[in-house]
């Protein structure tokens, strides 16, 4: 019998019922027992306050509240039970401006449609194995958007620890 994770909870936010079932099945195959579903960001936030998930998979385009607005609420709302929860955004959109908007809302990882088991499991493994620092500033709260140290980065130096990073880069 495979491993089970009775205490890990996941929330799937997707307006398409077929896709919800597929994602739930893929999470169940990992041994996650508590997987809840919502059809849009509004339903999801209400459910999230009730269940406090350890992982969220969300679609981008939904009505009335889309995945970007939902993620922003998760990160910034006083009502959010866990602003640090990992959020994987699943989308068929490949336009750069959408990806940037989602990233700036505080998405942790992206997963492009069509869904494959390998791609989903890789994203979850990345989250578990290398949890990212969070950054809080006036204009942003969410996972660190700088994924790697760029030795050629010349600024702008906006963070309190940037001076140390600049020293390290020398």
């Amino acid at each position: 019998m495979g491993a089970t994770f009775d205490h890990l909870k996941a929330l799937v936010v997707e307006d398409n019922a077929h896709m919800r079932v597929l994602l739930r099945s893929l999470l169940a195959a990992l041994g996650l027992k508590d997987v809840r579903e919502a059809a849009n960001g509004s339903e999801a936030f209400a459910l999230m306050r009730d269940m406090n998930p350890d992982l969220i998979l969300t679609d981008l385009t939904m009505r009335p509240v889309d995945g970007i607005a939902f993620t922003r609420e998760v990160r910034l709302s006083d009502q959010s039970p866990n602003p640090f929860v990992p959020v994987i955004m699943i989308t068929g959109h490949t336009e750069r401006h959408r990806v940037v908007s989602a990233r700036d809302a505080g998405v942790t990882e992206f997963l492009a449609k069509p869904i494959t088991a390998q791609a989903l499991y890789l994203r979850i493994a990345e989250i578990v194995e290398r949890p990212r620092p969070f950054v809080r500033c006036d204009a942003y709260f969410g996972p660190d958007r700088r994924r790697r140290v760029d030795p050629n980065f010349l600024g702008p130096w906006r963070r309190y620890d940037d001076e140390f990073a600049r020293e390290d880069a020398r």
Partner: protein
Amino acid sequence: MKKPPAAMKIMPGDYPVIGAGAAERLLKVLKDPATNEKGTKIVASKAQEFRSATLEHVARLEASWTGHDLDAVFAHAHEIRGLAGNAGLIAAGRIASGLCTYVEEIALARAKPKRSIIALHVEAIARAARASDEATRLGDDVARELLTAARQHLAEVKDA
């Protein structure tokens, strides 16, 4: 160095993360080839269901276009874009994605979409989704040609 605004980094552990024991067990499962194989079988087992759902949306897309309901055309094209890949209907998904982008960008430019461009997309989506050999060069070529037509019109609109 100019004084930076208040910004801080919060490290994992300073905020709640999955406990070390559960994380280790979960990683073991995630990296087990058997898990990947099981997941891949799940995805494959749903392909027919996704194909049926895609074809339902194709029929609704055509009806919406006949009824001149552009919002509904966009909504069904969006659904097709999301579902088609997991149905193995790659070209249909690509063309639907192109149609969604065109409708969105035209709306952003506050211009009127060209009926001929939408009609060509709708027809191509339907043909690509219903053809048994849609994953051929023909599908890709059609998608590319339609993308070019849509981009040309968008460029005309933005230049005007």
